[in-house]
């Protein structure tokens, strides 16, 4: 444990990583990574999705051993076998996906696994209250975590690592789950803690945020550190080009291809929680036309997933109708809906998109097991499936040695290209794309955007759900904001900013003429 609290220039840096190399099957690993984090600074680690940031942090946090290279903490070389070794050395990690038990209280969550420090009673409670102030968490430790919002849950995560004595805190994509206003509050907290001597390692690929909060920036690309920059002087564009290594792709699509032909017509759609206590989807009305991309904005967990799964027939709507090109889908199953012409890029390709241990061509059949070219009547057409998989591999630039390798062997971006290629096969009239570029590399992202744009120009109707507001604004012809299971506002993508959308997503009300409220959330007309 570190005993020193002073921020001195003559002291050892808080963390030094030297020549870290990690060979890792199928995805970009780390090779020869160098990173120096001075004590008391906010150090940003920037890189595209899949560049190797998370792997590096897992190494620093003791979750995976490096194949080569050394880790120094406060000038001493260390070797972490488990995260508890890292915690003992004063390193704490706040994961992108929260690791909290919803049905326990804040105090129970914090103390869980660290009972030896201050027990589980009043002493622990006092310590938590003392630390709560630092994190900006203003709730009683006895409150259940399930009653907290996303921002407060994140603070509980920070509280957890502080409670365990962390001086160096790794924040893994902490803003991914926050709306812009919450991001600002988080940054205030970080600055406050920085003044008290804490060191932060801030992982992000959002450059504006990096420039707003960081004292220094290290850029990682294709698994290796390509350089450092001073965020005060570097521009976002320069940073981005360091990250990408070339010109940036853009999701922008401006000339409208929207037609009058209604493809998807959803009316009065409702879905209740399994116990019937409250609606998850509440009276959804929506139209998607041929050649139109309708984007759904919303903080995760406000019903977007359920909306998609209800339209796909994977959940049974309580009431309302779903019509696709004059065909009533309301009572049909998922397969019949797919046959009617819906392509579906699911938000979690591992859970819903792929059979991971099966070869690529076998995955081509999934969702198309009743249609040509992958089936003839009750028989599978394996030759047809293989041939069409070759086509997808070629057209969508799926990087693979062949179509007989299992899907699990491909990197995330290549898996996603395969899924998008499959779902655009067979001339769908509607594509439902949930987070189509989440967790994929920048090359795959550009390709997927291009393919969606091309299909839209050819008359495809697209329902797009994305947490990436830039992607949403760039690709969509119409944006609808979803909040607590309702579509509460419409936004015009040609004028709206991510901040406007963010405030509508939290229900703070419309702050801009670009966002038109369609349902009453609070008072306030513009």
């Amino acid at each position: 444990m570190s005993s020193s609290t002073s921020v001195g220039t003559g002291e050892h840096p808080a963390v030094v990583l030297t020549g870290i190399t990690k060979r890792f099957p199928g995805v970009v690993a780390n090779s020869d990574v160098h990173l120096t984090v001075r004590r008391g600074e906010v150090h940003a680690l920037c890189g595209e999705n899949g560049a190797g940031k998370s792997t590096l942090m897992k190494i620093l946090y003791g979750m995976q051993p490096p194949d080569e290279g050394t880790i120094e903490v406060n000038g001493e070389q260390v070797r972490f076998r488990t995260p508890s070794d890292a915690i003992k050395a004063g390193i704490g990690m706040v994961h992108q996906h929260f690791m909290l038990a919803d049905n326990l209280t804040v105090q129970e969550n914090v103390v869980l696994g660290a009972e030896a420090l201050h027990g589980i009673g009043q002493k622990a409670r006092r310590r938590i209250i003392e630390l709560s102030g630092k994190t900006g968490l203003n709730v009683d430790p006895g409150v259940l975590v399930e009653q907290l919002g996303v921002a407060d849950r994140q603070r509980v995560e920070i509280l957890k690592v502080l409670y365990r004595g962390a001086k160096v805190i790794i924040l893994d994509e902490p803003t991914a789950v926050l709306v812009p206003q919450e991001v600002n509050e988080l940054f205030d907290t970080v600055r406050g803690m920085q003044e008290q001597g804490y060191t932060f390692l801030f992982i992000s690929h959002k450059l504006d945020e990096v420039r707003a909060i960081a004292d220094s920036v290290t850029v990682i690309r294709r698994g290796t550190t390509v350089g450092s920059a001073d965020p005060k002087t570097v521009s976002s564009r320069q940073l981005a080009e360091m990250m990408v290594g070339s010109e940036l792709p853009s999701p922008e699509t401006r000339e409208s291809t929207v037609t009058d032909t209604v493809v998807l017509d959803v009316k009065g759609l409702r879905l209740m929680t399994p116990d019937g206590s409250r609606p998850i989807l509440d009276d959804i009305d929506m139209v998607v036309r041929s050649g139109e991309v309708v984007g759904i904005a919303g903080v995760e967990g406000n019903g977007q997933t359920e909306l998609v799964e209800t339209i796909m027939g994977m959940r049974k709507a309580g009431s309302g109708t779903i019509t696709l090109q004059d065909q009533d889908l309301t009572k049909l199953g998922t397969l019949a809906r797919r046959e009617a012409g819906i392509g579906y890029v699911p938000e979690d390709r591992h859970r819903h998109g792929l059979l991971l241990t099966q070869p690529l061509w076998y995955n081509r059949i999934l969702g198309y097991q009743t249609r040509r070219p992958t089936a003839k009547g009750i028989w599978l057409d394996t030759d047809g499936a293989k041939k069409d998989t070759e086509r997808i591999v070629a057209d969508f630039d799926v990087r693979t040695p062949g179509i007989d390798v299992p899907a699990a062997a491909l990197s995330g971006g290549n898996q996603q290209k395969l899924v998008v290629g499959r779902e655009l096969s067979g001339d769908p009239v509607l594509l439902i794309a949930s987070h189509p570029t989440r967790g994929v590399d920048v090359g795959a992202q550009a390709l997927i955007w291009d393919e969606i744009k091309r299909a839209r120009a050819a008359g495809l109707a697209v329902l797009l759900i994305s947490a990436d507001l830039d992607e949403l604004i760039g690709l969509s012809d119409t944006i609808k904001v979803m909040l607590r299971g309702r579509l509460v506002a419409d936004a015009d993508p040609s004028t709206v900013t991510p901040e406007d959308l963010g405030s509508a997503m939290t229900g703070a009300g419309s702050t801009s003429a670009a966002v038109q409220e369609t349902a009453v959330v609070e008072e306030g007309e513009n």
């Binding site: 020549g19 190399t21 060979r23 890792f24 099957p25 199928g26 995805v27 970009v28 690993a29 090779s31 020869d32 080569e68 698994g223 290796t224 796909m312 994977m314 199953g333 998922t334 397969l335 019949a336 809906r337 797919r338 046959e339 579906y344 699911p346 859970r351 819903h352 998109g353 792929l354 059979l355 991971l356 241990t357 099966q358 059949i365 999934l366 969702g367 097991q369 009743t370 089936a375 009750i378 028989w379 599978l380 394996t382 990087r399 693979t400 040695p401 390798v405 299992p406 699990a408 062997a409 491909l410 990197s411």
Partner: protein
């Protein structure tokens, strides 16, 4: 080649390991393992042992196919045991109480057995689909009920009759039998063996060439991906459970049609449970299951020779158990190893994994 290695290596390792384990057990109990194993192998050539092994293989094969269909989509049909018991009584009663021309009579018995097995399996299937009842629990309980039901059905005041000390159903007339292939003093092979082979071929075609097989495999691999791909999970549970039960219904037919011609207290029990082990051993593959069934039958029948060399034949049970246990472990180890090496290969060919920098 690597593909085949991944399939053959685990069972080979498992058998070697279990032989070693049994050898140790034999040495501890004071016997010579070499003479014990030698006696088992030489038993194959004696009397009717070879034909007995083949007949047993056919029966085990059908049982394992029934279990494997469920396994393909992660349904654990422990109820094969009860399904074939009920089917055997029903088939014997139907066969013994009707008179039809040769051939047609046999067909009717086969269909009755399959329907009875499917009907018995439909109860846990419907419970699972409508109420979410775990099929492991419900099929185990159905096994208990099957014993009671079969005992009731062969009571003298129901369908049974007393013959000597044995209660049994009326004998099936000769028109309902299925002739076998006689090898004289070496025994008679059941004609139903050929039906078992046909079932194996049909199973392979279904799993690899049909839409239903695809949906079954997809559901087993990832139920979430299957449902997003339009596979109706409930329908798959129902259909695969019924199919599993129908095949289970055929298990007793080799003996019923080829030798016993009646259901009596001497009924061969426990085959359903062996089927579970054999399906595991054969990885649900029709070829692997055939091999597993043959191994099982060999151990069963040639184990009789152990008594002659003063070794308790229960050692065979130890061997069967240790083979299954080690084969499951070996498959998992090899599977993980193969996946990792495949990922490394893909990474190497695409150059995404840097060598030493």
């Amino acid at each position: 080649m690597g593909h085949l290695r991944g399939k053959l290596l685990p069972p080979a390792l498992a058998i070697v390991f279990s032989l070693l384990l049994c050898g140790v057990a034999l040495i501890i109990s004071g016997a010579n393992p070499l003479s014990a194993f030698g006696a088992m192998v030489s038993q194959v050539g004696k009397g009717t042992t070879l034909v007995d092994i083949l007949n047993s293989t056919g029966i085990y094969y059908i049982a394992a196919l029934a279990v494997a269909i469920g396994f393909q989509m992660n349904l654990f049909n422990i109820g094969v045991e009860g399904q074939y018991r009920v089917a055997a009584v029903v088939a014997a009663v139907v066969g013994g109480s009707i008179a039809l021309p040769t051939g047609i009579h046999t067909m009717v018995i086969i269909i009755a057995a399959a329907l009875a097995g499917a009907a018995w399996a439909s109860i846990p299937a419907i419970l699972k689909v409508t109420r979410g009842v775990n099929e492991v629990i419900s099929t185990i309980m159905m096994n208990g009920l099957a014993i009671g039901l079969s005992a009731y059905l062969i009571r003298r005041d129901v369908f049974g009759e007393l013959r000597g000390n044995n209660i049994r159903t009326p004998e099936i007339p000769e028109s309902g039998w299925m002739p076998g292939i006689s090898f004289g003093g070496s025994g008679t092979m059941f004609g139903f063996i050929f039906v078992a082979i046909a079932l194996g071929i049909g199973y392979w075609i279904m799993m690899n060439k049909t839409r239903f097989g695809f949906e079954l495999r997809a559901s087993g691999e990832s139920s979430t991906a299957a449902s997003a791909g339009g596979v109706n999970a409930k329908k798959m549970i129902l259909v695969s459970m019924l199919l599993s039960g129908a095949i289970a219904g055929l298990i007793s037919l080799p003996e019923l049609l080829g030798r016993d011609h009646t259901f009596s207290l001497n009924f061969t029990a426990g085959i359903g449970f062996s089927g579970i082990a054999i399906a595991l051993l054969g990885r649900n593959h029709p070829g692997g299951i055939a091999f597993g069934a043959l191994l099982w039958a060999f151990l069963d029948k040639s184990g009789l020779a152990l008594d002659n060399v003063g070794v308790p034949r229960e050692i065979v049970t130890i061997m069967q158990g240790s083979i299954v246990l080690s084969v499951v472990v070996a498959y998992e180890v090899v599977r993980r190893f193969e996946l990792a090496s495949e990922q490394r290969r893909v990474g190497r060919e695409l150059g995404t994994v840097g060598g030493a920098a």
